[in-house]
Each structure stands twice: as structure tokens, then as C-alpha cells.
């Protein structure tokens, strides 16, 4: 099976609340607008610091849309409209 059209990497900092919130918000937006067309890879910066270093992710939570275009978002993704506009959905 080939990779889906929208590929996200979600950088979380262990179990802290902001990271949970960001994951919930991302999943809910994806379900609503990108159902069946997306993958979410979760990276825990506390254990996989090399990935954070390579992607230059200094703050968490952070979402990087890897494909189809490159977009970076920081924070809990609280403002749904802002996230949709950034992702051009």
C-alpha cells in the first residue's frame, strides 16, 4: 500500500497535556477533512532527540506536514481555522 496523500509528523514531549491536546486536535481535523488520505507519525522529542534535531524542532508540540507540501505548526493547534488555512484545506 502506498503512502497517503497527506503525511504529518507530530512532535510531542512525552505525556504532557499540550502534546495530548495537539494530537487530539490534529486527529479530529484529519478525520473530518482528510479521512483515509492521511498518515500521522508521532515523534517523542524526549526520546528521539535526533529526529527533533534534524527537523530543527525546538518547541513542542509541533506538527510538520511533510507532503504534499511543507508546512510547520507550533502549539496545541487550538485555532482550527488557522490550522485549516495553514494546511490549505
Amino acid at each position: 500500500m502506498s503512502a497517503n496523500e497527506y503525511r504529518f509528523r507530530l512532535f510531542v514531549a512525552g505525556n504532557e497535556p499540550n502534546s495530548h491536546l495537539a494530537e487530539q486536535n490534529l486527529r479530529s481535523i484529519c478525520q473530518e477533512y482528510l479521512s483515509g488520505r492521511h498518515d500521522i507519525e508521532i515523534v517523542d522529542v524526549l526520546t528521539d532527540f535526533e529526529a527533533a534535531l534534524n527537523a530543527q524542532i525546538m518547541v513542542a508540540p509541533a506538527v510538520v506536514l511533510v507532503a504534499p507540501r511543507s508546512v510547520t505548526l507550533f502549539g496545541t493547534l487550538a485555532d482550527k481555522a488557522a490550522v485549516m488555512s495553514a494546511l490549505a484545506l
Partner: protein, 473 residues
């Protein structure tokens, strides 16, 4: 010598020329120091040099840049002659580009755990105890909420303290009239606070450093001028300098046997000599003869000229019988030429001091004291000459300066610039017109610790060199 008198707090050498003297031994070890300065004041370079010199000494460190890209930073280091690549390879230096993509969208809360996790792993892997966080204000601006900003700063400060890390944080000074962000709070967290600025004095820009706070330690409280030039940042803690001149040493030849006799057996080591006279009296010629002689003895000599280019000087000297080319080629003679107006007195001073440090000469020539006035103000020229003469005297180097006087008979103009008390030997040169013939006169006006001639002598400059002729009848 650098130990502090107060109940001792541990210090960490910066190894930046002059800074450890001002900080009385260095930065507070295991604590946080803040550098605040406007754009272009040299904050990043202070941090980079601290880590570069530490890494060279085998103390690993991590540089995190939140603003500048790694490329330009390394280019900057290159131009100063700092070789970062071998230190990166050996694991004693690491540059983390923490630049935040300006197109990134921020929505909702976040924290700096990711940054700290990266830092933590790197610290442990490298065994590093030194960190520079450059442009912390950029990271803080991202948070954009003063309450949360304070929380993050406290957390960062705590995190650094727990790891016993000596940290140097830099932040941009707010422009005038701008709302001061949380620097007051950072000021309060940091154990040592240093301000940098870059202002115009006359028509020359001058960089200055001031330590505004140092918990548990004394510090030099003046404003200190500094220069950024190869080999790095150099501070000039003028008021920290005590007088520790070496005693006048053995006599050695001036290059002319007859002149040796007139000054009482030659110049003395670690003495300062002034050759004064109006234009065309032969000051430069005497300096060249002196330089040539020193090189013939296999001594190194630094010749600083503010009046002539290397080519002009060499060609002028050839016509009076002194060929400096072979001594220049052999590296014994080093010429340092510059227009006095080309840079500020501080930068001239640093160039001179760096050249002395590199060459380790036995003699220094400065031509001329009068040209130094063109560095800006008379005060700047005075400080330049005073520092150069003092440095030479402290290091046991003989220093010869010339001074161009305007009048032919004006004795008040001996040194011209108020440095007379630092001068051990004064030789006055004059041109006298007599019976339609121009005669050259030489008089040793003063020679400390020597019984010198008090008679005026004739002398001649031909393509064979300088000849002292005899007493003027």
C-alpha cells in the same frame, strides 16, 4: 593575580583578551551570564569566542543560535581565523541551529522541552559544561505572552543550574522607545550581566562593554572599548593597567657608532627613545638605520608607520643607503602601515598589540607621534602612544618614536603630545641654513641613566648612509 578577594565563587575563564581581567577571573562557573546589546554589537562573537577558546583548551561547549544561520556564523569565525571544523569533529564544539522557520504558524500553547531534550542529550554525549544561547529573545518572542515567557525563563534557568552549566545568554537590547520585554526579569535571574554597545565618537564607531552586575564578585566597573578583528575580540582595560615597567637594561648599538657615543654608549633595552625634528631632518633615516642594525643582530623588529606605505619607505631608505628588502623578506623586520584616519585609536592599538604578541620583537618603531593625532582626538593619540610605550616597557622592548615638529627651534614641541615623562632619550634633529648651505644638526637633549653628550653635532645623509661629522664649532 586574577583571584578575587571576596568569599570565592568559582569562575570560568572566557579566554577573551582582556575580559577575564575585567571579570576578575571569568564568568561565574555553573551560573548564568546575560549579554545585552543592540544589533551588530558583537554579542554572538563574544559567545562564539568563549566556546572556541574553551574548546581549544579541551573544554567542550554547545552554541545554540536562534537567529543567525550556522553558515554565516561559521563564515564569521573563519574571517577571524577560528577553525571550528576540527573542534566539531573532535566533539569539543557543537553548533545547534535552532532557527525557527519564520513561516511557521503558531496556534495554542507549547513549551521548550524539545530544545532542552536536544541540549540534554548533547551535553551528556559531549561532557560539556558550557553553553551559549544566542538570541534567546527570538525564542521568547515566539511565546508572545509575558507570563508564560517568565515561566519558561525560570524553567530554563533552573534546568541550567541543575546541570551545573556555565551559560552565556545573549539578547537584543530593545531600541529606544520600544517596550522593554522581560529583560528586567532576565537581569534578575542572571548572576552576571554585561552590556555591549556600538556608538559613534567623532566620525569613528566605537564598541564598548560594561559589566553592570556580578553577584558575589568584584568587577571592573568602567566602560571598556573593544575591537573585533583577527584573532578575535580584544578588550582594552586601560584603567586596570598598573605601572610595572622593567628596569632599563643593557646598552646596544643605535646602528651608528658615533651616535652610540653621543647617547652614552648606545640605547638601553626597555627604554623609550624619541627622535624629534621638522620635516626632512632625517628622522625616518635614523629609524631605518636602527632597524637594520637590530635585524643584523638577528633581533626581530616591528616598524609601525602612519606616514608612508611599505614601498615608499623601502625606496626612500634605499636612497639613503639602507636596503630593508632582505630584512623584510627574512621576517625579522615587520612593517605595519596604515593611515591614522583608517580606524579608531583603539583598533590601531589592538593591531599594534597583536603584532607585538605575534612577533615578540626586541624593538618597536612608531612613526610618528604627530601623525597619531589624526586618529581622531589628541586624547586618543595620547592614549594610543601611552599604551604602546607602556606595553613595550613592561615587556622589556625598546621603543623608538618620532615626532614631527612644525617650527625649527621650538623646544616646547619636544614630544608634542604630552608623553615626555615616558621618554628616556630624546634626540633632536634640525636643519640649519648657514652661508647658503643647509646643515644637519643633531642634539641629544636627554638620556636617562646615561652620561650623554650635550654638544650639537653636524651630520650628513648621503647615498652611503648617515655620518656624524663633529661638534658644531
Amino acid at each position: 593575580m586574577l583571584e578575587c578577594q571576596l568569599p570565592t565563587i568559582r569562575k570560568c575563564l572566557t579566554r577573551i583578551e582582556g575580559l577575564d581581567q575585567i571579570l576578575k577571573g571569568g564568568l561565574p562557573s555553573g551560573r548564568t551570564t546575560l549579554i545585552i546589546g543592540g544589533p551588530g554589537t558583537g554579542k554572538s562573537l563574544f559567545g562564539l569566542e568563549f566556546l572556541y577558546r574553551s574548546a581549544q583548551a579541551g573544554e567542550p561547549g554547545i552554541f545554540i543560535s536562534f537567529e543567525e544561520r550556522a553558515g554565516p556564523l561559521k563564515d564569521n569565525a573563519d574571517t577571524l581565523g577560528w577553525q571550528l571544523a576540527p573542534l566539531e569533529q573532535s566533539g569539543t564544539f557543537f553548533l545547534l541551529e535552532g532557527r525557527i522557520d519564520p513561516r511557521a504558524v503558531i496556534t495554542g500553547d507549547f513549551g521548550i522541552q524539545s530544545f532542552l531534550a536536544i541540549l540534554d542529550h548533547k551535553l551528556k554525549a559531549m561532557g560539556a559544561k558550557r553553553i551559549v544561547i544566542d538570541a534567546l529573545d527570538v525564542l521568547m518572542r515566539l511565546i508572545n505572552d509575558s507570563r508564560r515567557e517568565q515561566d519558561e525563563l525560570v524553567a530554563l534557568h533552573q534546568w541550567l543550574a541543575e546541570r551545573d552549566v556555565t551559560a552565556l545568554l545573549t539578547v537584543k537590547a530593545p531600541r529606544e522607545g520600544q517596550h522593554e520585554r522581560n529583560y528586567d526579569f532576565l537581569d534578575y535571574l542572571a548572576d552576571c550581566v554585561i552590556h555591549l554597545d556600538n556608538r559613534m565618537l567623532g566620525q569613528l564607531s566605537t564598541r564598548r562593554l560594561r559589566v553592570v552586575k556580578y553577584r558575589g564578585s568584584g568587577f571592573g566597573s568602567n566602560e571598556y572599548p573593544f575591537v573585533i578583528d583577527s584573532p578575535g575580540v580584544t578588550l582594552l582595560p586601560i584603567s586596570e593597567i598598573g605601572l610595572s615597567h622593567q628596569a632599563l637594561g643593557d646598552r646596544f648599538s643605535t646602528g651608528l657608532t658615533a651616535l652610540d657615543d653621543l647617547v652614552g654608549g648606545g640605547f638601553r633595552r626597555a627604554s623609550s627613545v624619541l627622535i624629534t625634528g621638522s620635516t626632512g631632518t632625517g628622522k625616518t633615516t635614523l629609524c631605518s638605520v636602527f632597524a637594520q642594525m637590530a635585524c643584523a643582530r638577528k633581533e626581530r623588529i616591528l616598524y609601525i608607520s602612519f606616514e608612508e606605505s611599505e614601498a615608499a619607505l623601502v625606496s626612500a631608505m634605499r636612497s639613503s643607503g639602507t636596503d630593508l628588502r632582505s630584512t623584510l623578506a627574512s621576517g625579522e623586520l615587520r612593517l605595519l602601515t596604515a593611515m591614522p584616519e583608517a580606524m579608531g585609536a583603539e583598533q590601531h592599538l589592538v593591531r599594534g598589540l597583536v603584532a607585538i604578541k605575534q612577533l615578540q620583537p626586541s624593538c618597536v618603531v612608531i612613526e610618528s607621534a604627530s601623525a597619531c593625532k589624526r586618529m581622531g582626538t589628541e586624547q586618543a593619540a595620547f592614549e594610543y602612544l601611552m599604551r604602546m610605550i607602556n606595553t613595550c616597557k613592561e615587556m622589556g622592548i625598546t621603543i623608538v618614536t618620532t615626532n614631527q615638529t612644525a617650527g625649527l627651534h621650538n623646544l616646547d614641541e619636544i614630544s608634542g603630545i604630552g608623553i615626555s615623562s615616558l621618554i628616556d632619550t630624546v634626540i633632536q634633529l634640525r636643519l640649519i641654513e648657514e652661508n647658503a648651505i643647509l646643515r644637519r644638526n643633531l642634539l641629544v637633549m636627554k638620556s636617562r641613566g646615561s652620561s650623554h653628550s650635550h654638544a650639537v653635532h653636524d651630520f650628513a645623509i648621503t647615498d652611503q648612509g648617515v655620518t656624524i661629522l663633529g661638534k658644531v664649532a
